[in-house]
Structure formats: structure tokens, C-alpha cells
């Protein structure tokens, strides 16, 4: 085979490998180092280095082979010198060419020659100098031919594009990260605003201060126990915070009545789910169905709830969760007309009303989450803390919860078997 053909085949194979290498967006340093190896191996050059050029003219040596590792790191290049590189022909980059008017090369000629560098080839991407490749002599001892210059130029262009692409991707990743951070900040602002709203709702009712926030937390705990995603858990927490927002339009005297309210007052109070829906609907929430959860948190599985009298499958699961959280907090906190109920009473209520008022899976999830806290299986004792010191004391708490879960699971299994 003719030498020229053989060289061409060898260079062609290298170019193919180089194309693959620069397209790899993984490890940047490895990509540049391998690309340099490919270039050196194509013409059997003994040494070389890749220097990247920053906008401010500072240079960074990103890969070397057979040279001092940081060669070029102390170099700098002016705009005028960049132009000289952009406009120069192949001979302008040869350190052997004393007639060259490239001031950059003149300034560093001694250092470069000391490292046996013979050629400094610019990396030009979209008309900008993005850096250059420093190359030592050929192992054959021959001078660089015109074909060699062309091969080097093509491969250096590839390396330049690879570096440029990588930097672009880095910039994109930085921007994406910045956007993600901004989005997180916005979400935090949203959450804080919602919490402030929740506090405003609860201030109106002097007997249920902290109710909305507790319902938010109970809802979050239940949803997490049911295996919801973090995004969904955040959404249900917000729904819990806002579920009573409609009470803002209900007369304060009805909300704060220290006795059982009459039918007219009750009808007025029962407006709050629809009012909440109307308040929340025009808002573009970052989570799904928050207005619906507020609207349906007083619906019951047996259709005896309000405002729409929906039945089991018509009620969104989120609303079922908020409903249980709301009722549980109502039962376990003092009200104007009664003291809070004992835990035994509450469990009895849940047992009696599961399947008619409360969803079985939701009750089981809540009971499991509470049992984990009581048993010390979960580090955070959030429900226990919300219920206050002394409320869950006594050995019967574990038995009550275990029995409740077992009973509801049996019913669930028998229902599944019969269906």
C-alpha cells in the first residue's frame, strides 16, 4: 500500500475516533486528554498540550502529554494577538518561522521551544479563538508537510468544537440550576404565603387557632404513608392549610358561637367549602386540585356530606385525606361547646364512621403513621407532638391502633374477595 494512502487511512480512522470522543459529554478533562492523544498519535507527535482561552485573555492548560503539566497556564493573550492568530496562515503558527509577526509566539517562544514545541495551532470556533493546541515534533524527525497541517487543522477544529460544546452545556446546566433554585425560592414564598393565609383563617376562629396548619400536617403525614410522591405530598399539605379559606366569608359570630349553632347559622357555615373553591380557583397553584380538595373536604362516602352530596368514588382522594385530617383535629382539640375527646373515643368514632364518612385506606394509613410514632419506629413524633403531652399515654394506645388497623384490613380483604 502506498504511504500516502496508508497515512490517509490512519488519519481517517483517527478523525472518526475523535468525532466520537468530542461528542461524549461525560468527563470533560478525559475528553480533551483523549482527543489530544488521538491528534498526537495520528502524526506520531511526541508531545502536545491543549490550552483554553477565557474571555479576559487568561489561558488554562486543560491537557498535556509529554510536557510540563501547567505549561501555558501563566500565559495571557491580548485581543490584538488573538486577531493575529485568527488571520494567520499555517506558517504563522510555526515556532520555526522566525519571519512570523505573531507577538504572542514571540513573547513565549523561548518557553515553548524549551519544551520542544514546534507548532501552536489556534482553535477557532465560530470566528472566535477558543484556545490553541501546542504540538511537538514528529517522531519521524520530518518537518510538517502541507497535508500534516491540514490534518492538524481539521482535528484541532474538532477538539475546539468539543470544548465549545462542553462549555455551552456547562452554561446551560448552570442556568438550569439557577432556574431550579429560583423555582424553589418561589415555591418557598408560595408555601410561606399559604401558611400566612392559614394563620389568618385560624385567627378568625378563637377556638381553633392552629387548626389549618395542623390539618395541613396531618394530611401530609397521611399522604406520605400512602406512598404519594414528594410533589403530591407538598400539594396535599397546601390543601390542608387552605381547606377552610372559605370561612373568611362566614360571619365571625357563627364561627365563634360558644354553643351548637341553629339550622340557619349551620347553612351559613356550610357555605365555606364552595366559597373556598371560588377563592382558590382563579389562583394558578403549583399543585393540582387544591380548590377541589377545599370544596369537597366535607363530603362523605355515603353521600350525606356537603356541598354536592358526592359518594365514594366521586370524591377526590385528596379531599378524603383532608376530610379525615380535619375531623381528627376537630375531635382532638377543645371546642367552644365541648372538651376534646379521649383517644379511645376518637378510635371508636373512626371505627364506626369508616366506610360511611371516612375512606378505609386513608384511616389505615393514618393509624399506621401514628402507630409508627408511638412504637418509636419513626424518628419524628409529629402527630404525638401536635396532640400534646399526655394525650397518648397508656399502653392501650398501641392496642387500639393495632386492633383498628387489623379490623379495617380484614374488612378490606373480605370486600376485595367478594368483589
Amino acid at each position: 500500500m502506498e504511504i500516502t494512502t496508508q497515512k490517509l487511512i490512519h488519519a481517517f480512522g483517527s478523525l472518526a475516533d475523535l468525532g466520537q470522543e468530542v461528542a461524549d459529554t461525560g468527563d470533560f478533562s478525559e475528553m480533551v486528554r483523549t482527543s489530544l492523544h488521538l491528534l498526537l498519535g495520528t502524526l506520531a507527535l511526541r508531545r502536545g498540550g491543549v490550552v483554553e482561552c477565557a474571555i479576559d485573555g487568561s489561558l488554562d492548560c486543560v491537557a498535556t502529554w509529554g510536557l510540563e503539566e501547567r505549561l501555558g497556564a501563566e500565559f495571557s493573550i491580548s485581543e490584538l494577538e488573538k486577531t493575529a492568530f485568527l488571520n494567520g496562515g499555517p506558517l504563522a503558527f510555526s515556532l520555526e518561522n522566525r519571519a512570523s509577526t505573531n507577538e504572542f509566539l514571540d513573547r513565549y517562544r523561548a518557553i515553548l521551544k524549551d519544551q520542544s514545541i514546534q507548532l501552536v495551532m489556534p482553535m477557532v470556533v465560530r470566528g472566535d479563538l477558543s484556545g490553541f493546541v501546542m504540538l511537538g515534533g514528529k517522531a519521524s524527525g520530518e518537518d510538517f508537510s502541507v497535508e500534516d497541517f491540514e490534518t492538524i487543522r481539521a482535528m484541532v477544529r474538532h477538539i475546539g468544537v468539543g470544548i465549545h460544546t462542553h462549555r455551552l452545556l456547562e452554561k446551560l446546566a448552570r442556568r438550569a440550576e439557577e432556574n431550579r433554585r429560583l423555582y424553589e425560592e418561589l415555591r418557598a414564598i408560595y408555601r410561606d404565603t399559604v401558611k400566612a393565609f392559614a394563620a389568618a383563617i385560624d385567627i378568625k376562629d378563637k377556638y381553633t387557632q392552629g387548626h389549618s396548619e395542623r390539618v395541613g400536617r396531618y394530611s401530609e403525614i397521611i399522604a406520605r404513608e400512602m406512598g404519594w410522591s414528594e410533589e403530591e405530598v407538598e400539594g396535599i399539605q397546601i390543601a390542608g392549610y387552605l381547606h377552610d379559606i372559605g370561612k373568611l366569608v362566614v360571619d365571625r359570630d357563627i364561627i365563634n358561637a360558644p354553643y351548637h349553632i341553629n339550622a340557619k347559622q349551620s347553612s351559613e357555615l356550610n357555605r365555606h367549602p364552595n366559597a373556598g373553591y371560588e377563592i382558590l380557583s382563579p389562583i394558578n397553584h403549583p399543585y393540582a386540585d387544591i380548590p377541589l380538595m377545599a370544596k369537597y373536604h366535607h363530603e362523605r362516602l355515603d353521600g350525606r356530606g356537603y356541598p354536592d352530596g358526592l359518594t365514594d368514588e366521586q370524591i377526590p382522594l385528596g379531599a378524603k385525606i383532608v376530610s379525615l385530617a380535619d375531623s381528627f383535629d376537630a375531635m382532638t382539640t377543645d371546642r367552644p361547646y365541648r372538651r376534646r375527646r379521649s383517644f379511645e373515643d376518637v378510635v371508636m368514632d373512626l371505627r364506626q364512621n369508616t366506610g360511611t364518612q371516612f375512606d378505609r385506606n386513608v384511616v389505615v394509613a393514618f393509624a399506621r403513621a401514628l402507630l409508627k410514632e408511638v412504637n418509636g419506629e419513626s424518628k419524628e413524633r409529629r402527630i404525638v407532638k401536635m396532640l400534646g403531652k399526655g394525650y397518648l399515654d397508656g399502653e392501650q394506645v398501641v392496642t387500639l391502633l393495632t386492633d383498628l388497623i387489623a379490623e379495617l384490613e380484614v374488612v378490606k380483604e373480605s370486600q376485595a374477595a367478594s368483589s
Partner: protein, 128 residues
């Protein structure tokens, strides 16, 4: 005779000469392993390297670059390098690229080892 295998590269020592076996395809992955093994052998006192290519079908550009690096390191350590059992296609490549100016080619490992006793290290071409 000491036989060792670091990072799946076969090698053994004959006196102060290390014989390192290249794999079937000398590319980045295998080339770097050979380079590491050659460095290790030189660091542990070897004064000559025989790189055996009897299993090697193909050497790509990165392989060439790494071999040049090994020659460079050997030169800095005043060690001699012989390539043995190189197939004809690879010999053509080494000749075309000028590697044969810096290493001796031997038909096999035995010839490589015996050539080292009367070996005069090559000098690199003048670069300036």
C-alpha cells in the same frame, strides 16, 4: 523469572529487563494499562523494556501516542525499548510514523532479549 499481572496486563522480568505483553487491540484502555505497567517496571528498577505484540492485531492513534510516551519515559530513565513479534501491518504503521527510528524491532521475545545485550540506545531526532 518473576511473573506478574497488574490491571490485567501480563508481564515478567528477565534480570533487569521487563517483558510486557500488549493485548489484541492497543487502544486507550489497554494502552494506558501497558503504560502503567511499564512505569511500574521502570520504577522498580528495570533498565530495559520488551513490549511483546504477539497478540496484537491492531494499534490505533491513541495506542501510537501512548507507545511514544513509553519510549519517552524509558529515555528519561535511561532504559532501552524493544518491540517484539509485531505483525506486518503494524510494522508498516510504525515505519510510516517513524517509531522504528526509536525502537528496535525483534522477531520474537527471545530475539528481543538477546538483542538487548548488544543494544545501543537510539537518540531522538534533533527538534530545533
Amino acid at each position: 523469572m518473576e511473573i506478574s499481572s497488574s490491571s490485567a496486563v501480563r508481564s515478567h522480568c528477565v534480570g533487569t529487563t521487563a517483558v510486557v505483553y500488549a493485548s489484541d487491540y492497543l487502544n486507550k484502555l489497554t494502552g494506558e494499562k501497558i503504560e502503567r505497567e511499564c512505569r511500574r517496571q521502570l520504577d522498580s528498577g528495570c533498565r530495559a523494556l520488551v513490549i511483546d505484540f504477539s497478540d496484537t492485531q491492531l494499534v490505533n492513534s491513541i495506542g501510537i501516542s501512548i507507545l511514544l510516551g513509553i519510549i519517552d519515559i524509558a529515555e528519561k530513565n535511561a532504559a532501552r525499548v524493544v518491540f517484539s513479534d509485531v505483525n506486518s501491518q503494524t510494522v508498516e504503521l510504525f515505519e510510516m510514523l517513524g517509531l522504528t527510528r526509536h525502537v528496535v524491532l525483534a522477531r520474537n521475545e527471545e530475539e528481543a532479549l538477546s538483542s538487548l545485550s548488544s543494544f545501543v540506545p537510539p537518540t531522538w531526532p534533533t527538534l530545533h
